[in-house]
C-alpha cells in the first residue's frame, strides 16, 4: 500500500511537472534564432573572428538583459554560432544548414570577404536577410541582391575617399592647399583599390599634380630606394598605403631622410596599428595622419550606452575593444532595431524593416561614429573612415567634425623635420 502511494505520488508529480513545464515555457518570452557565421579557428583571420564573436555575444546579452524585443513580447535573441574556419565552402553549406535545419529568419556574418561573398548568395536564394559585419569587398553589395545589408563597413575605396575628403576639408579650412601629390601603395588588391580612388579624385577635384604613383612589393627588404625617390620628387602630400612592417620602415626613413611634406597620410592599416608608435618612436610619428575605421575611445565612448559596452567588454575579456568588436556589437543592435519594427521573426518582415532602417544621432550611432540607413544596394552610405593625427604618442581623431576630439586641433601643414625638437 505504501509502495503504491509512492508510485502515485511520483506519477502525479511527473504529470504536474510536465504541465507546469509546458505552461512555463509558453508563458516565457519566445526566442528569435539568429544565424551567425564567423571564423573562430583554422585561419590567420581567427583572432579577429574571435574578437568579433565576443562583441556579438555581448550585444545579444545586453539586448536580452534589457528585455529582449519588446514588440514581440520581450522575445529573447538566441545566437546560433557556426565556425566557418575561413573556408568559403563551409560558409555556404553552413548557411544552407542554418536556413533549412535551424530555420533562422536572419543571418549575421561572416567577417571575411572570401566567405561572405559566396555565402550571401545562398541566403539570397532562400530569401533570408543577411547583415554583413566586416567584409569590405565592393562586389558584395553590387550584385543587385535584395537581402544583403552592410551597415558598418564600406568597400575599401571608401578608405581612400576619406583621405581625399579630409584633404579637401582641411585645405579649405586653413587655405593651404597641397599641389604636388606622391602616393605609394603595396602591390596587392587592397593597395591597388585605394590607389585607384586617389589617382582619380585628387587631380580632378583639387587640381593636384601627381608627381609619383608607385606600387611597391610588400615586405621589401629595403624601402630606402623608394623613400629617396619620394624625396627627390619633392611632394606636398604623401599618401602611404601599407601594412605594419612596411609602414614602420617607411616612417623611420622619412625621419632619417628628413622628407618634408605638408602632410603624410596613412590608410588605416600600418599607421593605425598599435605597434606603430612604439616602433617608430614619438618624434618619428608626431604629426602623421592616418584614417581609422573607428574614431576611438575619446570620440565615441561618450554616452552611458557606450561606457557600458566598453566596461563590460573590458571586464569580461581583460582587453580593450577594437574597431572589429565595435562593428560586431553595432551590427546586432542594428538588427534589434529592425526586429522591433518587423514585429514578426520572419524573413520578409525583417527584410522590409531593414530597408526602412534610419538610425540617426542615437546612442548607437555615437558609439559607431556614423548614422545608419541603407541605400537601394543595401549599403550604409553614412559609414566612413575617421581621420586621426598622431601627436605625443596618441591617435587623436580630428575629422569628421562630429567625432573630432575637443581638446586637440590638427597641425596643417606639419612642421619641417629640422624645426622639430
Amino acid at each position: 500500500m505504501k509502495n503504491n502511494s509512492n508510485k502515485i505520488m511520483i506519477l502525479v508529480s511527473c504529470v504536474l511537472a510536465c504541465v507546469l513545464g509546458v505552461s512555463a515555457d509558453s508563458l516565457a518570452a519566445s526566442k528569435i534564432k539568429i544565424g551567425y557565421l564567423i571564423p573562430l579557428s583554422g585561419t590567420a583571420a581567427a583572432p579577429i573572428g574571435q574578437d568579433m564573436s565576443k562583441g556579438t555575444h555581448l550585444a545579444v546579452k545586453h539586448i536580452n538583459d534589457l528585455g529582449g524585443i519588446k514588440s514581440m513580447g520581450g522575445a529573447q535573441l538566441e545566437l546560433v554560432e557556426v565556425d566557418t574556419h575561413g573556408d568559403p565552402k563551409a560558409g555556404m553549406t553552413e548557411a544552407e544548414r542554418l536556413i533549412n535545419v535551424e530555420k533562422v529568419p536572419v543571418i549575421i556574418g561572416a567577417y571575411q570577404s572570401g566567405v561572405t561573398f559566396p555565402s550571401t548568395a545562398v541566403a539570397e536564394k532562400y530569401k533570408i536577410p543577411w547583415i554583413v559585419d566586416l567584409a569590405a569587398k565592393a562586389e558584395i553589395t553590387e550584385r543587385g541582391f535584395k537581402y544583403v545589408f552592410r551597415p558598418v563597413q564600406i568597400p575599401s575605396s571608401g578608405n581612400a575617399d576619406s583621405v581625399v575628403d579630409f584633404v579637401k576639408y582641411i585645405s579649405d579650412k586653413t587655405g593651404k592647399k597641397p599641389k604636388r601629390l606622391a602616393f605609394v601603395y603595396e602591390n596587392t588588391d587592397w593597395g591597388q583599390d585605394l590607389a585607384k580612388t586617389v589617382r582619380r579624385r585628387f587631380p580632378k577635384e583639387m587640381g593636384m599634380e601627381i608627381v609619383l604613383d608607385e606600387a611597391y612589393p610588400p615586405n621589401s627588404p629595403d624601402l630606402k630606394p623608394l623613400v629617396i625617390k619620394i624625396k627627390g620628387r619633392n611632394p606636398d602630400l604623401i599618401s602611404v598605403t601599407g601594412y605594419t612592417s612596411d609602414a614602420i620602415q617607411m616612417h623611420k626613413l622619412f625621419e632619417q631622410m628628413q622628407v618634408n611634406a605638408m602632410a603624410i597620410i596613412g590608410s588605416a592599416a600600418g599607421q593605425a596599428d598599435r605597434t606603430f608608435i612604439p616602433s617608430v618612436g614619438m618624434k618619428g610619428t608626431n604629426y602623421t595622419y592616418t584614417t581609422n575605421g573607428w574614431a576611438g575611445y575619446e570620440s565615441c565612448v561618450t554616452t552611458p550606452f557606450a561606457k557600458k559596452y566598453w566596461d563590460d567588454f573590458n571586464a569580461a575579456h581583460k582587453y580593450e575593444p577594437t574597431e572589429f568588436t565595435v562593428c560586431a556589437y553595432g551590427a546586432v543592435w542594428i538588427l534589434k532595431d529592425a526586429l522591433e519594427r518587423a514585429q514578426k521573426a520572419e524573413p520578409e518582415p525583417i527584410r522590409e524593416a531593414l530597408t526602412k532602417t534610419s538610425i540617426m544621432n542615437t546612442d548607437l550611432t555615437k558609439l559607431l561614429g556614423f548614422n545608419v540607413k541603407f541605400d537601394a544596394k543595401g549599403q550604409n552610405p553614412y559609414k566612413r573612415f575617421a581621420m586621426q593625427q598622431i601627436y605625443n604618442g596618441k591617435h587623436r581623431t580630428i575629422w569628421p567634425e562630429e567625432v573630432a576630439v575637443k581638446d586637440f586641433s590638427p597641425t596643417w601643414p606639419v612642421p619641417k623635420w629640422s624645426d622639430r625638437k
Binding site: 605609394v184 624625396k231 627627390g232 605594419t244 623611420k252 625621419e255 632619417q256
Partner: protein
C-alpha cells in the same frame, strides 16, 4: 645627381649586408653541398638575439657584433654535430636530399617557435644610435648604414682571408673541393663540417646584428632576406664565397639605383631577369668555376 649618388651609396650599404648573408649560405653549400633552407630562420634568430641583448642587457647595437656571432657559432656547430650529421652519414653515398628536407622542416619549426615565444608583432630596438643621421647638404646617410657597410666589408674580407691563409680555412676549402682526398691527407671531414656550419652561422649572426638597427624583427623576417640570398648565391656562383660577396653588392645596387628609374615593384623583376640570363648564359654563375 645627388639622388643618383645617394641611391648608389644606399645600394652599396644594403648590398654589403646581403653579401654577408649570402657568403654564409654559399660556404655551407660550397663545403657540404647542402642547401640550407633554414638560413633565413637562423638570420631571424640572430636578429632576435641582437634585439634582446639591446633591450634587456642595455647593450649598444654595435656591441652585438662581438656577442651574437659566438653564440650563433655554438648554435651552428651543435646543429650540424647533433642534428644534421647523422642524416648526412646515412646519405654519404648520394646527394644529401634528406638534409634538404630536414632544413626545410627546421625552417618551419624555428619560424613557429619564435612566433610562440616572441609573438607576431614587428619589433625594433630603441637606441639613439638607430636614428642618427649624417647630413651633408641635401645628402643623408644614417650611421647605422655607414657602420653596417664598414663592418660588412671588414668581416667579409677577414673571412675570405681566413679561408685562404688559416690552416682550418684551408682544410675547409680542401674538404669542399674533394672530401675524400682531404680525408686521405688527414682532414677530419665531419669536424670540418661542424666548424663550417658554425662559422657560417657566426657570419650570419654578424649580418643579423648589423641588420637589427635597420630593419624590424618578426618571426617571418628570415623569408624576406632568405630568398634574396639564394638568388645572390646562384648569381655569384654556387659555392663561391667571393662570388656571393659580389653578388650581394650587385643585387643591392640594382635594387637601389633601379628603383630610381622604374617603379619599385619592377626592380624585383629586373633582379630575376638578370638571374635567369646568368643561369642561361653562364650556368656556373658570374664568379663560379666552369669545371665539374
Amino acid at each position: 645627381m645627388s639622388i643618383l649618388l645617394q641611391s648608389i651609396l644606399n645600394g652599396l650599404c644594403s648590398g654589403s649586408i646581403y653579401s654577408l648573408i649570402a657568403v654564409s649560405l654559399s660556404l655551407l653549400f660550397g663545403v657540404m653541398k647542402i642547401i640550407n633552407f633554414a638560413h633565413g630562420s637562423f638570420l631571424m634568430i640572430s636578429m632576435f638575439f641582437s634585439l634582446w641583448a639591446c633591450r634587456y642587457l642595455g647593450l649598444h647595437p654595435l656591441v652585438n657584433l662581438l656577442l651574437v656571432p659566438p653564440v650563433m657559432f655554438v648554435i651552428g656547430y651543435s646543429t650540424q654535430r647533433f642534428l644534421i650529421k647523422s642524416i648526412y652519414e646515412k646519405e654519404s653515398a648520394r646527394e644529401p636530399i634528406g638534409v634538404l628536407i630536414f632544413t626545410t622542416g627546421l625552417w618551419i619549426f624555428l619560424d613557429n617557435l619564435f612566433l610562440a615565444v616572441a609573438g607576431p608583432d614587428s619589433q625594433v630596438i630603441q637606441h639613439e644610435y638607430v636614428n642618427k643621421t649624417l647630413i651633408l647638404g641635401d645628402f643623408f646617410m644614417s650611421y647605422t648604414q655607414i657602420y653596417g657597410f664598414s663592418a660588412s666589408i671588414f668581416i667579409s674580407l677577414l673571412f675570405l682571408l681566413f679561408l685562404k691563409k688559416a690552416k682550418v680555412g684551408r682544410a675547409i676549402r680542401a674538404t669542399g673541393q674533394d672530401r675524400e682526398a682531404a680525408s686521405v691527407i688527414g682532414v677530419n671531414s665531419y669536424e670540418i663540417y661542424n666548424i663550417s656550419f658554425g662559422l657560417g652561422m657566426a657570419v650570419l649572426g654578424a649580418a643579423g646584428a648589423l641588420l637589427v638597427p635597420l630593419y624590424n624583427v618578426y618571426p617571418q623576417v628570415g623569408d624576406v632576406f632568405g630568398l634574396r640570398s639564394f638568388v645572390i648565391v646562384v648569381l655569384g656562383g654556387m659555392g663561391s664565397v667571393w662570388g656571393a660577396f659580389w653578388g650581394g653588392i650587385i643585387i643591392g645596387l640594382i635594387e637601389s639605383v633601379g628603383a630610381q628609374f622604374v617603379p619599385a615593384t619592377f626592380t624585383e623583376a629586373i633582379i630575376f631577369i638578370i638571374f635567369v640570363m646568368v643561369l642561361y648564359f653562364k650556368p656556373a654563375g658570374l664568379f663560379g668555376l666552369e669545371s665539374e
